[in-house]
């Protein structure tokens, strides 16, 4: 048991130790200060020339958002077309078919927006061409989109009033050339040397001891799995994701994948601190997020180590904890850690089946996605945190008797309007989507769809409700992990989650970037003794309270009817 605990603690420790210098490096890259990767400049210049981009041009928030959305729209069309036609395109050694329009729509969107919901299975649903040319490509660009959008916020924290907030294209290109590409390469090498396939050959076959012949899917997976984690994408090469022995062969690769997915989200916090030269503020954000993580992680680990009460009632001892749906090579502790890490940040890769998590763990996983700002996805975490920050600044500003201000800029009606819209969006998408699903399930169970609504759920009752809630929450959070046990590859779920995915991605980007753009050009009021400092534990507590209250108020009834009802029934 001590070894298991040590494994998790060491993993987290290494992550933070890497994240701090990485944060400094990121700040250097985005500030255009000399850094170790300047040798990439010729490549970047080539990209700018090919794209007709003027890298020296500063853009305001609107221009940046137009750039971001336009290029994303192009990728969506590109991905959609290739997935629809992949069956007749090259690099398809296993002869997999083209995707149906609703599945292609869902898949294209979910990879475009860094979610990777995957209503298909990697072995049979896509080809090597689409795995690499569409999905892996999108894993890179969606992560870079998130990072670039988050960096657009940084100027609003700085003393000088500015009209422009940066150049999205430049931030985007540099995120890929200097961060995602080189670091993915390192991770891919480690994975490949530990047994993850990196080959263009089709299925291998092996004969089991029983004499059956089994086809084993392979492919150029190592690179894919590297960016899948580094970019908090989470979409697996294989259907079983990182529980699959080829996707995550051993404890070392498990550690590498766990580190890879959290390192950039944490580094982004420190990058903010270095960029605006307010390290204390970065540490406050880090502390708030880490406390949040621990509040979800500790109950999960304890529950999983405690084993399943239903089995305990049978009089069966569970010395290793709850093992249903878990890999023996990782054990319940590393699996519990992964399940929380992958849900608080928006990776959504799994190394155990969340459907089999204990009810309390399920609650924590859901909460992680509902908050979606404890570290959060690459870039997306800071973007989400930003609107909580604005609301916290507003309420606490009033509470100390001063027109609310964030780093010397007054937070007024327009900013609050945008922050409120983004804050209520989660509740709207998750609860609205789940309500719609529940409505169809109950009232139109026999609708003549390809998959009848009444056949969606493997487990009716509270657990079935959690499955639907989880799918919507995961989509809204752009997480992409599935509770599974839900028949989701059909018309309703592909389109419903597709819409939730788009709105859950772009509105939380547009909102915070707009607020930042509005704030950045406001008059800067120097701090005085009456200003409420935001880099203090007190203000950290305030942000935490705002996050807690908004999330609790939005989701308490839904959690009650799903995992909490299950938890109390099992107890």
């Amino acid at each position: 048991m001590t070894t298991e605990w040590m494994g998790v603690i060491v993993t987290y420790g290494i992550t933070v130790l890497l994240a701090i210098p990485l944060g400094k490096f990121l700040a250097n890259v985005f500030k255009d200060e000399p850094n170790a990767f300047d040798f990439m400049k010729p490549l970047e210049r080539l990209i700018y020339r090919l794209g007709g981009i003027d890298p020296s041009r500063e853009m305001n928030w609107k221009e940046n958002l137009v750039a971001l959305l336009t290029i994303n729209a192009l990728w969506l069309i590109y991905a959609f077309v290739l997935l629809l036609t992949q069956g007749s395109l090259p690099l398809n050694p296993d002869g997999n078919p083209s995707q149906t329009p609703d599945l292609a729509f869902n898949t294209a969107i979910s990879f475009l927006i860094n979610c990777n919901l995957q209503h298909y299975s990697g072995e049979s649903g896509v080809t090597y061409l689409t795995q690499l040319g569409v999905l892996m490509f999108l894993q890179f660009v969606s992560a870079a989109t998130g990072i670039a959008a988050a960096v657009l916020l940084f100027r609003s924290f700085m003393p000088k009033p500015v009209e422009t907030v940066g150049n999205f294209y430049v931030l985007f290109v540099k995120s890929i050339t200097r961060v995602l590409l080189p670091f993915s390469l390192v991770i891919a090498m480690i994975l490949a040397f530990n047994g993850t396939p990196a080959s263009f050959d089709g299925k291998d076959t092996l004969v089991t001891m029983q004499g059956d012949t089994v086809g084993v899917s392979r492919g150029p997976a190592a690179g894919f799995i590297a960016i899948k984690h580094l970019g908090t994408n989470g979409g697996g090469w294989f259907g079983a994701n990182s529980a699959h022995p080829l996707e995550n062969p051993n404890y070392l690769t498990n550690m590498v994948e766990m580190i890879a997915q959290v390192v950039i989200p944490i580094a982004m916090i420190f990058a903010l601190g270095f960029f605006i030269n307010r390290k204390r503020f970065a540490w406050v954000i880090y502390a708030v997020m880490t406390v949040g993580l621990l509040m979800l992680l500790v109950p999960t680990i304890l529950t999983e180590l405690g084993g399943n009460p239903a089995i305990a009632h049978l009089g069966i001892g569970q010395p290793t904890g709850a093992m249903e749906g878990k890999e023996v090579r990782f054990g319940p502790l590393a699996s519990a850690y992964w399940s929380i890490v992958t849900t608080v940040i928006s990776t959504g890769s799994v190394n155990s089946m969340h459907d089999s998590s204990m009810a309390m763990s399920g609650t924590m996983e859901l909460l992680g996605m509902m908050v979606n700002a404890f570290y959060g996805g690459v870039g997306a975490g800071l973007l989400n945190f930003y609107y909580f920050l604005i609301i916290a600044v507003f309420i606490s500003g009033l509470m100390v008797g001063r027109t609310p201000e964030l780093f010397g800029r007054k937070v007024e009606a327009r900013e609050i309007k945008i922050a409120s819209i983004v804050a209520l969006l989660s509740a709207f998408l998750v609860k609205g989507g789940t309500a719609l699903a529940a409505w169809f399930f109950i009232h139109y169970g026999d609708a003549s769809w390809a998959v009848k609504p009444s056949a969606w759920l493997n487990n009716p009752g509270f657990h079935g409700f959690t499955e639907m809630l989880y799918e919507m929450t995961s989509s809204n959070a752009n997480n992409g992990s599935g509770f599974e046990g839900l028949g989701d590859n059909n018309f309703f779920w592909n389109y419903a989650t597709g819409i939730v995915l788009i709105m859950g991605r772009y509105i939380p980007i547009i909102g915070p970037v707009a607020i930042a753009g509005l704030l950045a050009r406001k008059k800067y009021v120097p701090e005085s003794a009456g200003t409420l400092p935001v880099d203090t534990p007190t203000f950290g507590l305030m942000i935490f309270a705002v996050i807690f209250i908004i999330t609790a108020l939005s989701f308490f009834p839904a959690l009650t009817l799903g995992p909490l009802a299950e938890y109390f029934s099992l107890k």
Binding site: L398, T403, E415, A435, S528, A565
Partner: protein
């Protein structure tokens, strides 16, 4: 200066006066009109909920169908929801009623009074005095006031001088002198002329005076939401929308869980969750803020001005009257080398005999109190008085001597006098210079006296700093407000007094444009600046400042330029205004926090109540151990309703501002209103449930 804010005829009303409550209750019902209520989105949704419940109740009453719960239960919920709206309306109405009462007492001072208007009549344009009612006065009219008359309207003296009793407005019983020209030419309607006679020109159209504007603001008729209030309303509307989503989604969720949810339960949950507490009290808080300003005898031209005052970073204060008591007093005469003490004192006294300024009087007084009264044989018959001007920075007297000669005596600041002396080719003794600097360094003001351009000596004037003023500056510093002293003194004196009084900065030898430049400079740095002024030459600076408080005694121009008028003419009033502004924001912030924090307990009351019948395991969430689902819902709704009237006193009085630093204040308010907001409803709902349980 510690003046009572209330005067005998304008007592501060208690929080709930009987006569006000009657009006407020009547108003609460009038405000049920949806067209009025829609301005408050939170309470409007409660009214819509109430309406739905009325329909449900009528339906049950008519059909006897009890699938939606019993008639009595639905009736109770409907009633409580209605009461919730009424309570919120009452909060606003009582604040308005108090404001009106406050305004009414001010208005009494402008009862119909006869006005002796001067009209040019007849061919020869002979002025004739007609007596008309004050209501008929128009802007530009000139009226006459003699001893014993009540001044019928605000205006500016165009001719004459009078002592005036302003106690009706300020509560200060000592009469004041107002005269034509200069900075003390303004008179206020309702005040009484005690002596002499003045001609006054009406400066405002009836109904447009500051007081009329303020009355309208307090009454709520023209009250516009301030920027912070608008932002808060948006945030509250956002929360309301979240809860609409939560409640609407609950219906299919409950269908899935095979749990019938009654309309009453759903609407109760919704009303409990939306921030009704702050929603109901928000406008009352705003009105009460204006009302508090009025109680401090400050007339604000807009709510925004009061709110801005809370944000002020820099405060410009005149030294005289604000930091030091009234005026400087002469304390010592120092003769120049070779000049006898008597000679020096006599020259000094002579220079000041006709000087009506307090400094001048104090010089004469000190001269009289000397060992020998040198003033006895002095005469100023036929003398020419040389008045002090900002340019010459000296004053004096020319006394004709027999033989056509005249004795030219001047006194003034050292540098201006030195210029005169040196221009005449005389030597300015270095001893005098040393002495003058010594006096200045000790906070005194040196006045050099010369006779026929030869230095006679130096008079020491000393400032007396008001007791308790440095504590007030300390308080301001803790609030984050920088204080700046404005004075005409030389830099040495200014520095000494600034240090002694504890201001952060000073402007010495200030000319009107220095004030303006200082304000501009601060504003360029992003600071908000407040200042107080009275004179016409203050008007540009008052207009430039973010918060400009004009003294009521000041000129019309100054009053027009500022955004507040202080009826008491009390320069330290700015400090109160800043605190009122802060209090306004704090009250809103803390009650919002309290309101939202309340929801945690309400969830724990209502959510188990909704589902325990079909999911018994959820009884575990009923941590308050409430009696039954019906009693739980009723208790939550009742708590939600009665918390509004319970908080009205706090909303009207305002949450206390403590200058303990922003972080400490946040901690304190988070603890009281955040943690308190979570705990209080657990206790409250449980207690109400115990009582309700007796009837169910």
């Amino acid at each position: 200066m510690a003046k009572q804010l209330s005067s005998p005829n304008r007592t501060r009303p208690g929080l709930f006066q009987k006569e006000l409550i009657g009006t407020a209750i009547r108003e609460s019902f009038i405000k049920l009109n949806p067209a009025i209520l829609v301005k408050n989105p939170v309470m409007f949704t409660v009214e819509v909920g109430t309406l739905i419940m009325v329909l449900v109740t009528v339906y049950i009453g008519v059909t006897g169908d009890t699938t939606q719960g019993s008639l009595a239960y639905n009736l109770s919920i409907t009633f409580i929801l209605l009461v919730t709206v009424l309570f919120a309306n009452f909060a606003e109405a009582i604040a308005e009623a108090r404001g009106k009462a406050q305004a009414e007492s001010l208005r009494k001072t402008r009862q119909e009074t006869p006005a002796k208007v001067i009209r040019p009549v007849g061919e020869y344009k002979l002025d004739e005095v007609q007596t008309i009612s004050s209501a008929q006065l128009k802007k530009g009219d000139i009226f006459l006031c003699e001893a014993g008359d009540i001044i019928p309207s605000d205006g500016e003296i165009v001719e004459g001088l009078a002592t005036i009793d302003e106690s009706a407005i300020t509560g200060e019983s000592a009469p004041v002198i107002r005269e034509a020209g200069g900075d003390k030419s303004s008179v206020t309607g309702g005040t009484k002329v005690l002596s002499d006679r003045i001609k006054v020109m009406v400066t405002t159209q009836p109904g447009e005076s500051f007081l009329d504007k303020m009355i309208a603001l307090v009454e709520g008729a023209t009250r516009q939401k301030t920027p912070n209030e608008i932002a808060l309303t948006i945030l509250l509307a956002g929360f309301t929308l979240i809860f609409i989503i939560v409640c609407v989604a609950l219906k299919p969720f409950a269908d899935y869980a095979n749990t019938p949810i009654t309309i009453a339960a759903l609407i109760s949950l919704f009303v409990c969750l939306i921030p009704t507490t702050i929603g109901g009290l928000l406008s009352a808080i705003g009105i009460a803020g204006m009302d508090r300003a009025l109680q401090a005898n400050v007339i604000a031209k807009s709510g925004r001005a009061v709110e801005t005052a809370g944000d002020v970073d820099t405060l410009l204060l005149d030294k005289t009257g604000t930091i030091t008591i009234g005026n400087r007093k002469a304390t010592n005469f120092y003769p120049a080398p070779g000049v006898s003490q008597t000679d020096m004192v006599r020259a000094s006294a002579l220079s000041s005999l006709a000087d009506e300024t307090p400094e001048g009087k104090s010089i004469v007084e000190l001269a009289r109190n000397g060992e020998t009264d040198v003033t006895r044989n002095l005469s100023t018959t036929g003398a020419t008085l040389i008045k002090f001007t900002a340019e010459t920075r000296s004053s004096g007297i020319d006394v004709p001597l027999p033989g056509g000669e005249s004795l030219r005596i001047r006194k003034g600041a050292m540098d201006s006098i030195r210029a005169i002396v040196q221009r005449a080719g005389n030597v300015f003794p270095s001893e005098i210079e040393t002495k003058a600097n010594e006096i200045a360094a000790n906070g005194g003001t040196p006045l050099v006296v010369i006779e026929n351009e030869a230095v006679k000596g130096v008079i020491e004037l000393q400032d007396i700093i008001k007791p308790g003023i440095s504590e007030r500056f300390d308080r301001l510093r803790k609030m984050g407000v920088k204080t700046v002293m404005v004075t005409g003194d030389n830099p040495l004196t200014a520095k000494f007094i600034a240090g002694k009084a504890g201001v952060d900065d000073f402007i010495a030898e200030a000319k009107p444009e220095d004030k303006m430049n200082y304000i501009r400079r601060e504003q360029t740095g992003g600071k908000l600046v407040a200042m107080m002024g009275d004179g016409t030459n203050d008007a540009p600076a008052l207009a430039q400042a973010d918060v400009g408080v004009a003294m009521n005694s000041g000129t019309q121009a100054a009053k027009e330029a500022g955004n507040m008028v202080d009826l008491d003419n009390d320069p330290t009033k700015l400090i109160e205004v800043v605190e009122i502004g802060k209090q306004l924001l704090i009250t809103r912030g803390t009650l919002t926090t309290f309101s939202i924090a309340n929801d945690v307990a309400k969830y724990f009351a209502i959510v188990p109540a909704l589902f325990t019948l079909s999911i018994p395991a959820l009884q575990a969430l009923n941590i308050m151990g409430l009696h039954s689902p019906e009693s739980a819902i009723l208790s939550a709704v009742i708590f939600n309703a009665i918390i509004i009237p319970l908080l009205i006193p706090l909303a009207l009085r305002g949450v206390e501002y403590k200058p303990i630093g922003a972080s400490a204040l946040l901690r304190r308010n988070l603890f009281i209103y955040g943690l308190g907001g979570i705990v209080a409803p657990f206790v409250g709902i449980k207690l109400i449930d115990l009582a309700v349980g007796l009837f169910i």
